[in-house]
Structure formats: C-alpha cells, structure tokens
Amino acid sequence: MIEVLKSGLYTSVQDLGRFGHRNEGVPICGAMDQQAAIRANQLLGNNKNEAVLEITMMGPVLKFTTHSVIVLTGARFGAKLNDAEIAINSPIKVQPNDVLTIGSASGGVRCYLAVKYGILTERVLGSRSWYGGITSSTVVRQGIVLPITPYEGRLARKEISEERELTTDKKIEIFKGPEFEHLAPAMQQMLLSSSFTISPQSNRMCYLLDAETALTAPEILTAPVQPGTVQLTPSGRLLVLMRDAQVTGGYARVLQLKASAIDALSQKRGGVTVAFKAIDLPVRSVT
C-alpha cells in the first residue's frame, strides 16, 4: 500500500485512458503526457497501460507500507526517499515505512510515479483513470491509501537507452482541423503565424491560449472532438482540448494536434509562449 501523507497540488491515478464509452459521453482521460507514463512502466518492466500517479507542479508526500520498486519520469521534480535525493528515470527499491517526498517541478508541469505491477485502485468501465462521476476519487486526498502489490525482486527488467528530454521547442505540430478551410485565408495565415500564451487556467480538460489577434470563427453544429482538437471561439479564444475533454463540442475545430504534441503541450506552463507548425495528413478527403 501507499499512504498519502500530503496530497500535493493535483495528484491523480491515470492509465492510458478509458475507451469504448465515448458514445455514452464518457471522456477518455488518462495520463496527460502519455510518453512519460509509458516510459515509467517500461522502466519497471510493467505493461505500458498500468496505472501511475500523475503529479502536477507540487508533489505529494507518500509512505510505503510494502516493498516495491518505483520510478519517476516526465518533468523534473525535487524528490527524496527518506533523506536521500532520487533521480528521474532511475528505478529504486522501497521498503515499508519509507517516505517519498516529491517537491516542486523545476521544469515542465507533470511527473509520473510508477510502482511495480501498477497502482491497483478500482477499474471502472475498463480503466483506472480518475474522473469525477466515473471513479469514486478525482484527486488524491491526504489520508487515503493506494493499493499496490508487494514486490521484493530485482530492480528492473531492462534499461531504456534513449533519454527523452522534455522539449523546449515552442512549436506545436498540428494538422489542419475540420473547420480550418472555413476560415478566410488571412485568418488561416494569422492562426499559423501568431504566437500564443498559455493561460494559467489550463487544466486536464483544456489548455487556453491567448493572443492579441483578430481571430474569430462562428459556432458550429455540435460535432465530435477529441484530445488535441483546437477550438476557436467567436470571441477569439483558442481552446486546446486535453485528455479529460468532452466527446463533442460546438466551437470551430480549426486545428488538431499531432499525438506527441499533446504530450509536449501538457508539460508547458501557464505564461509560456507557443506557436503552431502545420504538418500534412496523408490525404484530406477520400470522397
């Protein structure tokens, strides 16, 4: 078990998402930075879809009551096991009564804590990812207990050679979205050439981008959206839908982030500037 001594700013259990229920209005959810979550599981020899703890900006304090092996991936956070500092991407053994203190992010936004065999909170509709109204918890609270399987074996199954550094590139790779062609050419140009500032209000559902531009688009008849869909509102706000996004929306879908760009954006903080870089989909239309 893991006992939560302090909750941190926004800590939740996430796997790679809940699929097969979007037609019932259920969001996918899952780790914001999927590459980091997958890497954490790989470093422990887990299945890539095991549930991990997603830790945001300021970390929790956790006490282990069983033996296990753990690893942190994603953004760099100051972290200590008892009094010893621990490094990112390095599996480490823990034993009963060890206390893991995760401080604040020194770069990026989110880090992931994986344990051997994954965190075994309830699986609801095929996934352990926390989401209000679906799972009984939304965020980690002080005093709760997270079930894990005791493990006293070897550190890790294999080493992962390539080191993924969080990108500092301000370019976000995108495809043109379903309503991109509805924008006037000048507006298209503005969208692709402007810089945008990430709003501090950004969260797991949506990143808000602000810019001093004349961008605008009329509302559309409510239609499907997915993580990475960039909506343009009539008042000129850009909403980049993230993992907890609803399944349909009524704003113009002007752009669509490439899958890896969702991971990259999820590690960018409020106040950071980004711009879009258009890449091509294989084909635009087959009829």
Binding site: G25, L125, T248, A259
Partner: protein, 242 residues
Amino acid sequence: MKQPSVHFFTPNSLLLKWEPQISTAIELEMHGFSKMIAENCSNDILEIVPSYHELAVYLTEKANIQDVATKIKNLLVNRNQAEKKSLKQRTLTIPVCYEGDFAIDIETVANMHHMNPSEVIRLHTQPVYSVSFLGFLPGFPYVSGLPEKLHTPRRENPRTKIAKGSVGIGGKQTGVYPQESPGGWHIIGNSPLCFFDVQKSPAALLRAGDKILFTSVSIKQYEQIATEVKKGTYELDIKHDD
C-alpha cells in the same frame, strides 16, 4: 439524401460528414451506418461517436487508415436499400416532477413566453422527443423535438451547480443533467431516474436513436419512484419498436 463524405480527422480517426443540419433522417441513416461499419470493420474500430451530422470513427493502433477509409467508402456506395440497417428503436417514458424546488426556472420560462407554468408542463410533456447523441457529460442526452413555443435562450449567468436529474431548456434543446454540474439552461423540473450508472452495462440509460416521452409526476410520486430506483425495483416504461 446526399452520401456522406469521408475525411481524415487524425492519422487514426475518420470523420463522416452529412449536410450540416439537425435532421431525424440524417440521424437515422447515421445510426444505421454506424452499426454497419462496426460490423464490417470490427477489428479496426476502437469506437464510433455520433453527433447531429458527423460520425467520428476512431481506429485501433494497428489499423491502416487508408484501407479502412476505402472499405467505408465502398460500404457507402454498394449498400442498397435492403441493406440499410437502422437501430431497433426504443421509446422510454421519463417521469419528471415540474413542481417546487425542482422547477426553479419554470416561472421565468413561463413569463418569457407569456403563459402559465401549467402550459409549460403541458407543452413539454406533449411531443415524442428523439435522442440525437450523448455528449457534454457522461450520459447527457442531446434531445431534439422541443416545441418552438418553449425555445428559450440560455441564462445570461450560468449556474455553478445544477442538481443531478435536472430537466432543462437551452435554446432549441431540452435534456436532463445526469450528474451535478455547472450549466446555463433554465431548469423546469427534475427526474428521479438514474441516467448514468457505472455499475450498469451500458452505463448510460439513454442511447443515440432513442425516442423519449416526459410525463409529469407529483412530488409524492417522485419520492416513491426515487426510492424504487434506489432499491433497483423501479420498472422503467420502455417500448421496443418492431
């Protein structure tokens, strides 16, 4: 009706687009076609999400999107009338209490339309509505068929909390909030039914293509139904079409 066009949404999702309008004919065709794609491309499909006039087809990691797009295009072209499948439709009767604290905005709605609250209830319980699709919240139905006399603009200041089961009107739409949520609709009643329960399969009470009727119940009846729903003994009125 024009054939839908097939578009790439991402490298592993497709969008099928019909004419942009709210139309029962388009919805029926979309639901039938959705079923046909699910049956014919089951190995490649992760899930299919309908809306008013667009069907999103999300593919598995292993699927070849080009092949699936071609297959879907062929299904569209080659299907004849006999093959047109539509979902077996259901008609569900939804009890709603339009009284007291359940109906916080019914006076406002009635005043805006220069009628009595009883007229609002009469009009709201009259039509056979259809569920176009689910979205916004788990189990939240987008319901078409609200009488024009009840079309009401959304509240200028959305509420931060709307009670679970609230029945509201927003613009040309009506619907039920399956869980407590913020929202900008005018609330005219509350249903004691449970519209989303993760312990059930499917979790959502309603599905795209359903027909629904609202029926007015008293506060006493509401409480009785709520107790039965809690116990699991409530018998929902569902009629299946042939």
